[in-house]
């Protein structure tokens, strides 16, 4: 079963083998409001843990999406370019951003699981 982990910057990563699917959490999309634009990285780009992986822009603000772990971008969700609303309607499903080939699986240990993230978010409001 694929495990989903969360960063403090509100990205999620779902790991399947040595590939991680990355997106932003439901809390993040709620905070951003309607997403109107997404900038995705080039395939093959190497990202560091906590480094900028994508940019998301809503009616309220533009913000970076950080890579929760280091890796190489092996796929991006091209559907988001034409239909950024997917991030609002399905942040952890069709609204995924990119797939990373993980550089170091050990980094996943620094992230929160579902329960820990829920607790973290509850403490923010």
């Amino acid at each position: 079963m694929a495990q989903v982990k969360y960063s403090k910057e509100h990205e999620w990563i779902r790991v399947e083998g040595d590939i991680g699917v990355v997106g932003i959490s439901d809390y993040a999309q709620q905070q951003l409001g309607d997403v109107v634009y997404v900038e995705l990285p080039a395939i093959g780009k190497k990202v560091t843990k906590g480094g900028e992986a994508a940019v998301v822009e809503s009616v309220k603000a533009a913000s970076e999406v950080y890579a929760p772990v280091a890796g190489e971008v092996v796929a991006v969700n091209d559907q988001l370019t034409a239909n950024p609303a997917l991030i609002n309607s399905s942040p952890q499903g069709d609204g995924w951003f990119l797939k990373l080939k993980l550089a170091n699986k050990g980094e996943l240990g620094d992230l929160m699981d579902e329960a820990a993230y829920a607790k973290f978010v509850a403490g923010l409001s």
Binding site: D34, V36, Y37, V59, K60, A61, S63, P84, A85
Partner: protein, 519 residues
């Protein structure tokens, strides 16, 4: 109850106005104005031109084949169109404009009068130098005032506005590092800095390293110290910062940044809060831009252009861009090429900067004098603190204590009301005010940033405050629907911002002919 002015809330038009239907679409003096392309008819015109003389055809294959499709309008139609559009605009000339971080202060009419003097207005930038001595003296005098007010030895006047000034400062820093044979790659930018700061650093090829704000809304000093290292080129800090707070550790930050051989860039967009009170040189700053269109009352927000001179420390002065003015035996002279020991990094504009803004800014300085420039910064801070003090029991200040020139609130007071910062701002439009800056700075949840400027009287602020108090009370009383429907009294109701951003319509297209439409 707010009785400061003996005003009671008036329901002049109220919600009913939205329901009154008129045949013309006009609502009294609020005109419904179609696009200019939707008016007029082909062949109509305001001037009677003779038929064009026959000339030899030299256009070849690029000759236009169909009509260009411009609307034909008479002169009064054109004048009415643009007058009506201007009436839909909200400007500092029509009311309180509390847009935080933007300093929408009054633009004195004396500035305009001086800028229109033919001796300035009719100059050409390529005129011989001996025929423009007055203009050069004016630029030199402005430079003197800027250097005196900041305590800095040099100023680059050509940057076109704030972000251009940041670019100028950071390129100067890069040039100074290059002259030392160093290529440092990282620039520290606190979260409480202006959003253009990280953008500028990135545009100049640096890597941006963010420093978190502490619980007081200021730079987290420990986090800052932890980031110091030999690869740091500079820090870009805004003071007073975007939370409207003075960075109280700024001298310590300057010492630390200099200790590692890096430079200190300060975003001076908020200089209007400290003019005549703090000299940036005394804080250890190496480069700072000054928005003439904020601090020194030149127009902006559509009426610009902006102007963003950059003052430089002795360490950076040799790398200042061209051109600059020197005064010698033959009068004033514009230096346009490298001379002497100077190592200019290049130039930023074709000509010499925003001359019209230099005239207005110097007029503001000379008409106020040193004493009243100091009084203006004091009044700007006093006004912001008056707003903060009068609203803090019904809204939630983002930070404890007093503020500088802008009062910052978070959306805590709207919690569980179903009203968002956006809804609250829209309701302010019905109250006749331009909304405050919202959702910025990002470090504060649902931020509402109010900058009244020194231009507003206590009477004007009391009306503004009474409106906000009344809105805050309505939000708490559970009138969420009222807010969701706002604005009601504007030419257009709430716009679909999401659709506008996702599917922008960037140009008008003629409607399809009736025959096609029927198909």
């Amino acid at each position: 109850m707010d009785k400061s002015r003996g005003r009671t809330g008036r329901t002049t038009a109220g919600g009913a106005a939205a329901e009154i239907r008129t045949e013309s679409g006009h609502r009294g003096l609020q005109f419904e104005e179609p696009l200019i392309f939707e008016q007029g008819a082909e062949g109509r015109g305001g001037v009677d031109l003779p038929p064009a003389p026959k000339v030899a055809e030299r256009l070849g294959g690029v000759r236009r084949k169909g009509p260009i499709g411009l609307p034909g309008l008479s002169e009064p139609q054109v004048i009415r169109h643009y007058t009506r559009l201007s009436q839909k605009n909200y400007a500092i000339d029509s009311g309180v404009y509390p847009l935080g971080s933007c300093t929408m202060k009054h633009n004195p009419r004396l500035n305009e009068k001086m800028a229109r003097l033919p001796g300035f207005a009719d100059l050409h930038p390529l005129q011989p130098m001996q025929t423009v001595q007055g203009a050069l003296e004016l630029i030199d005098r402005l430079a003197h005032w800027l250097k005196t007010l900041t305590g800095m030895p040099a100023v680059a006047l050509s940057p076109g506005a704030g972000a251009h000034g940041e670019f100028c400062g950071m390129v100067t820093i890069r040039a100074a590092l290059a002259a030392r044979g160093e290529t440092r790659r990282r620039v520290l930018v606190p979260e409480s800095a202006h959003g253009t700061n990280p953008a500028t650093a990135a545009a100049c090829g640096f890597e941006v390293d963010s420093i978190p704000a502490d619980a007081r809304g200021r730079v987290d000093l420990a986090a800052f110290k932890a980031k110091l290292g030999p690869d740091i080129a500079a820090i870009m800090l805004t003071n007073p910062n975007t939370c409207g707070l003075f960075e109280s550790d700024i001298v310590k930050i300057a010492e630390e940044i200099h200790r590692i051989g890096a430079y200190f860039y300060c975003d001076g967009a908020n200089f209007n809060a400290i003019v005549g009170r703090v000299r940036p040189a005394d804080l250890g700053i190496d480069a700072m831009h000054i928005n003439l269109h904020k601090t020194f009352s030149t127009p902006h927000g559509g009426g610009g252009p902006g102007s963003g001179p950059v003052v430089l420390s002795a360490a950076l002065a040799p790398y200042a861009p061209l051109p600059y003015i020197v005064h010698g035996a033959d009068g004033f002279r514009l230096v346009e090429t490298k001379e002497g020991k100077a190592q200019p990094f290049g130039r930023l504009k074709t000509f010499h900067g925003q001359m019209g803004m230099f005239i207005r800014a110097l007029t503001y300085m000379l008409s106020h004098g040193a004493d009243c420039l100091r009084a203006a910064s004091g009044d700007a801070v006093l006004n912001a603190n008056y707003v903060l003090a009068r609203l803090k029991d019904v809204m939630t200040p983002a930070f404890d204590g007093t503020c500088m020139h802008e009062a910052l609130f978070d959306d805590g007071f709207l919690k569980d009301t179903g009203v968002s910062t956006l809804d609250f701002a829209k309701a302010m439009i019905d109250e006749g005010f331009h909304p405050m800056t919202m959702y910025f700075p990002l470090v504060v949840h649902g931020a509402l940033l109010i900058e009244p400027t020194e231009s507003e009287s206590k009477d004007a602020l009391d009306v503004f405050i009474a409106s906000l108090r009344s809105l805050a009370a309505r939000a708490k009383a559970g009138e969420a629907e009222f807010f969701h429907a706002a604005p009601r009294l504007t030419p257009r109701r709430r716009l679909d911002e999401t659709r506008a951003a996702r599917q922008p319509v960037l140009r008008w297209r003629p409607p399809a002919p009736a025959s096609q439409a029927a198909e």
